[in-house]
Symmetry: C2
Subunit: 164 residues, 2 copies
Amino acid sequence: MNDPRPVANPLFLREEELRQGIELLFFAYRDFTAEPDKILAELGLGRAHHRVIYFVGRNPGMPVSALLDILKITKQSLSRVLGTLIRAGFIQQKAGTRDARQRLLELTPKGAALERRLTEGQRRRVAAAYRGAGADAVDGFRKVLTGLIDESERLKALAGGSRG
Amino acid sequence: MNDPRPVANPLFLREEELRQGIELLFFAYRDFTAEPDKILAELGLGRAHHRVIYFVGRNPGMPVSALLDILKITKQSLSRVLGTLIRAGFIQQKAGTRDARQRLLELTPKGAALERRLTEGQRRRVAAAYRGAGADAVDGFRKVLTGLIDESERLKALAGGSRG
DNA sequence: GCCAATGCGTCAACATTACTGCCATAATCG
DNA sequence: CGATTATGGCAGTAATGTTGACGCATTGGC
């Protein structure tokens, strides 16, 4: 009458499947950030500096407000990190032409060099994972990650540099 | 002789493709952690507490050393977080039977309840992203994320609970 | 039984990254 | 002119991480 095997319980499988996804995200992010963190530590900088350098490099001339919207931190937190990077000569500000209140941000050559150095390892890592998984897998990876982003943020996230 | 169209430069596309992957990872992780962070803040806890509660819930009876190996933080950092959780009654310790030096960790009922509350939103989010992307995409998602993990950590990461 | 190594905890000091709240300046807009 | 916007600065606080040193109980090899 009863099947002696513990037949695959769909609820259990689902739970297990979801937890595996959660864990993969944790482990991947952990290892993904470890490399640049090391380089940053040598320079007395932290992960927050990398994020700022990355996105300013990606969106040259962006105002502070746009950076705040991406990072989702307070302006006070950003202000300190940004101030450090400006004083250290990685980022420079220019007054906005349309709105003179704005401080438009861009990397200096020194900043661009650091950006390349920091992101190089991450690019290599992503490239290796893409190569190993194949084009279809990459497509799925992007689909799922996009679905994980808050709906209201998806367009902004995919806009990336000056693509959108 | 020359193709007048700026033919898709494979190097550019690759760079763009990789950067998009990097950004998706950032945005997904940002939004993925925002929800539990709010709940934790109400309790005077932080993301580190969630990680500990999560993995102890996943691996009941795990020793401290295993947790250190997963989280990749120093025992001093863990000790503080773990101490808080134990004093607050979310986690309890039992001496190891095989090795009496070990402190085997497990969630109390109170801890298990908090774990469910914290992870519920994340599970829902992952479930929604999985549903929206489809089974093939989920497979690709897992493949790529696995490839992003340090090779030496992949087996451990996939071992999850007591699956491996 | 001695002794080194292991597993865990703790104290001290410090850095980074985040937060809230408040105030200031300057420019834009209505 | 007055309200809003974009930005900067200061003060205080907290979470999370680090290194270094030490203690204590237990284990395991000799």
